[in-house]
Amino acid sequence: MTDGTSETSLLKLLIVDDSSVVRRSIERQLKMPKISTILQAANGREAIEMFLEHRPDFVTMDITMPEMDGLTCVSKIMAIQPETRIMVISALGDAETAIEAVERGANEYVFKPFSESELNQALRNLIEAPQ
């Protein structure tokens, strides 16, 4: 977990993915000075536990994960804190899954494999979009 310090912004991001390589890659590629705290979870169950403890403002969510998949996790987070902004980052390339993710409450959908610029643009959209 990275816990930076910033007096002007205290935004928290939770990265959920069963691949630790992908989680760390997302963290390294992020160029968002507004995010002061980055948390990580390896599946939906862990994500819910971390969410309840830390109440992050933003979440990046994989879908295909053990124990609890990302779509179920999106629904659970929306039930806990509906104003949370969620970006799904998934290899699932069909439109139906992206639509379902949005219907469950996700705000952005990024297909794996993604480039650094795609990731940062999507995250900017997520952070800067009006509530």
């Binding site: 691949s19 760390r24 290899a91 699932l92 494999p113």
Partner: protein, 162 residues
């Protein structure tokens, strides 16, 4: 598998390497797997269910996986990260294939095997297509065993209709 279906996986593999590394990979002509083993040091396996049944395997030696980890900016090149990455590559290529096969192409979470793949893990009753991938100086393989499972789809649709 049809030529179009095989092409989906070829394009998926090429897209992965191009997107992640910025360096294009090359693919040799796919062939049907015989008795020879093509398993390298690490193999990521994704089970397929739903409208199709089968599996997608991505197998690679340690060197290209370390090369890929470096492109991710990852400094820990140990066994856990190599195993993690080989599973993620198999997952990404199989998941991307849903753009062609649709949402009834259900993929499992990755299982990672080390060492020579025991032939028992490959479905004996299905043909396996081997797609050789050349990235930089290294060779990896994508293996796909797939057949349509219309019976199960009918069953699911029947249940949905009530």
């Amino acid at each position: 598998m049809t030529d179009d279906e095989i092409q989906v996986f070829i394009e998926g593999a090429l897209h992965y390497f191009e997107r992640v590394t910025g360096t294009a990979a090359a693919v040799d002509a796919p062939y049907l797997k015989g008795d020879e083993s093509v398993a390298l040091e690490y193999t990521g396996v994704i089970g397929i269910s739903g409208r199709h049944r089968g599996a997608v395997y991505f197998t690679a030696a340690s060197e290209p996986l370390i090369g890929l980890l470096q492109t991710f900016g990852e400094t820990d090149h140990g066994t856990p990260n190599q195993a993690d990455l080989v599973g993620e590559i198999a997952n990404t290529i199989a998941g991307n294939a849903r753009k062609f096969f649709g949402s009834e192409f259900l993929i499992s979470v990755p299982i990672v095997l080390r060492g020579q793949l025991d032939e028992i893990t490959l479905p004996r009753h299905m043909k396996t297509v081997v797609i050789p991938i050349q990235w930089r100086t290294w060779r990896c393989y994508l293996l796909v065993s797939l057949h349509k499972n219309p019976g199960l789809l009918d069953e699911v649709l029947h249940r949905r209709r009530g």
